[in-house]
């Protein structure tokens, strides 16, 4: 994505209140994730190191805006710190999946032939598994823990990127500017990196923005099923799962982390929509027309 494109995207986001909502949610989430340890009202509660029997199951109040859980910990602090783990997971999963998926799709698409077919058949093998099921199996095998969750999700995720890049590269590699690069005498590696990849990344950027939200959702799913991060890590999915047992007496300890997941995922979706609109020239035109 070039600087000009980024500026245009920002411009289009600013004029659209829905996109702006997405941007605000995502920004708030990222800031919360980065600053979490410093802004939680009860840091010990947030890390899950405390046990206050006299403060168990307190309903939401000014002191504890999201109430307290079965261990008497402040849910608000735990949700805020949870943003850090969700941010780590989403960046880790999408980043790792891109790191595996892009080179495979690029090489398979550009070189084609037998090597390309082999790479894509391997990709298809991974795609043949339902992604969440594959992630559950991997997470269960690797054992609980943040890094394992990221690895498990990334392994079930990269084939989608590699497909997407493959399709893009296939349509780009026959364009005249790629021929021109060949005529200059550039090596296939330089042609791929300088001419093919930068032009293939637009849809990948949009997909990655969407997937940041989905990764949080799936990691929460893994935690909820008991194959995710280790307690007492305040990961949102784990918080929902922990509160689930006591939902009858303390609905707040499940509800607020659940809402955090919901709002963040919606935020990423709105933002991804805005990026997609800004990158599609036809939609871009339609947006400009709508404004007039």
């Amino acid at each position: 994505m070039s600087f000009e494109e980024a500026r245009l995207i920002f411009k289009l986001i600013r004029v659209n209140p829905i996109s702006m909502t997405g941007l605000i949610i995502v920004t708030a989430f990222v800031v919360m994730g980065l600053l979490a340890p410093y802004i939680t009202p009860y840091p010990e509660d947030a890390w899950g190191l405390t046990y206050n029997i006299e403060k168990r199951y307190l309903p939401p109040s000014l002191e504890h805006p999201f109430g307290t859980d079965e261990m008497g910990r402040d849910v608000f602090s735990r949700v805020i710190l949870g943003a850090r783990f969700s941010l780590l997971i989403s960046v880790g999963v999408v980043g790792l999946a891109l790191l595996i998926g892009i080179p495979i799709g690029l090489v398979a698409g550009y070189l084609g032939g037998r090597a390309g077919t082999l790479l894509m058949r391997i990709t298809d093998m991974f795609l043949a598994f339902p992604p969440l099921l594959l992630a559950i199996a991997l997470a269960a095998t690797l054992g609980r823990g943040l890094v394992n969750v990221i690895i498990a999700l990334a392994i079930s995720w990269w084939p989608w990127y590699s497909r997407l890049v493959y399709v893009q590269v296939n349509s780009i590699k026959n364009l005249p500017y790629v021929d021109a690069a060949k005529i200059i005498g550039l090596s296939p590696f330089k042609i791929m990196v300088r001419h093919v990849l930068p032009n293939a990344l637009t849809p990948v950027t949009v997909q990655a923005a969407l997937d940041m939200g989905s990764a949080i959702l799936e990691a929460a799913g893994l935690s909820f099923l008991g194959v995710g991060v280790k307690p007492p890590t305040p990961e949102w999915g784990l918080l929902v799962s922990e509160g689930w047992a006591t939902i009858n007496i303390a609905w707040w300890s499940s509800l607020f982390p659940g809402l955090a997941i919901l709002v963040t995922v919606i935020g990423f979706n709105l933002l991804a929509d805005a990026v997609r609109e800004a990158m599609d020239p036809r939609l871009r035109k339609a947006i400009v027309m709508r404004r007039l």
Binding site: S2, E4, L175, P176, Y177, D179, A180, A181, K182, I183, I184, G185, L186, K190, R194, H195, P198, N199
Partner: protein, 324 residues
């Protein structure tokens, strides 16, 4: 002196069908074509779409491997070049394509596009390469202020100048021009043609011009080859070809050029060829033009006509001119 010599060039594209890609036939895009280009000469290939002229260009540019035949450049066959020799060849043979907006990477700045070939072949810093690139841009008539722009900021004519600057940057011997003006406005076409002509004189360049626009071909070329269904059917000096075309196909092709003068228009007779060009998967036996030729004879369907020398540097592939 001969710079490029194409000898019996063939390029067949296999047609594959079914699960295992069984070859069921071939598209004979280029079938036994020979021609040569001298130093500082402009040679044109004309013909309708599908006649194989672009395929020849792509074989010369090493974008396709020819099925058979030789392409001899400066005395060396380049069809099997590898490694350093191939890189040297790329330095000497460049190209300009039809649509400049497709032939320039939309995400690169103008100066970087022109500097790229320099960086690929010379041991110079990015800054030096950019400086040289700006000089080349100025030579092709672009202002240095465009150097930091992207291709989408330019007009068609400006973008084509950038493509020419990129081809020129390495001071090549031969530039393949594949329809260099067909995507441009008529007013811009003339400017680009004049620029190309000036450059060929200044840098002693040879051009292989691929075009279906006969007025462009007539304006700029020294010699012309006319292509029909993968063959060169007539080859002659430009003036000779346009004044006294011999092959029935050339005659029909030239009669299709619009005549702007109404009084002359009445005098001219349009030669119409019936039907469409047949498929190059199974071209007609004998002379490939015979099903459509207005002057067809018995012999035409029987044997392929030889390339007959009828004058100085004038060759025709037609039975009409065979000595009995």
């Amino acid at each position: 002196m001969t710079l490029l010599n194409v000898v019996n060039l063939k390029k067949y594209f296999p047609i594959r069908k079914g699960l295992f890609g069984r070859v069921v036939g071939y598209v004979k895009a280029v079938d036994n074509v020979s021609f040569s280009i001298s130093e500082n000469e402009v040679f044109s290939l004309v013909g309708e779409s599908g006649s194989g002229k672009t395929t020849i260009a792509r074989c010369i540019l090493k974008l396709y491997d020819p099925t058979d035949g030789k392409i001899i450049f400066e005395g060396k066959d380049i069809t099997r070049l590898k490694g350093k020799d191939l890189k040297d060849y790329h330095r000497k043979v460049q190209a300009v394509f039809q649509n400049p907006f497709l032939s320039l990477n939309p995400r690169m700045r103008i100066a970087d596009i022109v500097a790229e070939p320099l960086l690929a072949h010379m041991k110079i810093s990015r800054n030096e390469a950019r400086k040289t690139a700006i000089k080349v841009l100025e030579r092709v008539g672009l202002s240095a202020s465009l150097a930091r722009r992207f291709p989408s900021d330019l007009s068609g004519g400006q973008a084509q100048r950038v493509a020419i600057a990129r081809a020129l940057a390495l001071k090549p011997k031969l530039i393949v021009l594949d329809e260099p003006t067909s995507a441009l406005d008529v007013s811009v076409q003339a400017q680009i043609l004049n620029l190309l002509e000036d450059l060929s004189r200044e840098y002693k360049l040879s051009y292989l011009l691929i075009s279906h626009d006969l007025s462009v071909v007539r304006y700029i070329s020294d010699r012309v080859g006319v292509m029909y269904l993968g063959n060169i059917v007539e080859e002659a000096l430009t003036e000779v070809l346009f004044e006294s075309p011999l092959h029935p196909y050339t005659q029909a092709l030239l009669s299709a050029v619009p005549e702007p003068d109404p009084s002359l228009k009445k005098l001219r007779k349009r030669i119409m060829l019936p039907g469409e060009p047949p498929s190059s998967i199974s071209p007609p036996k004998g002379c490939r033009l015979h099903p459509r030729c207005p002057r067809v004879m018995d012999v035409c369907s029987k044997g392929e006509p030889p390339l007959i020398e009828v004058g100085e540097a004038h060759k025709v592939k037609c039975w009409l001119y065979a000595k009995k």
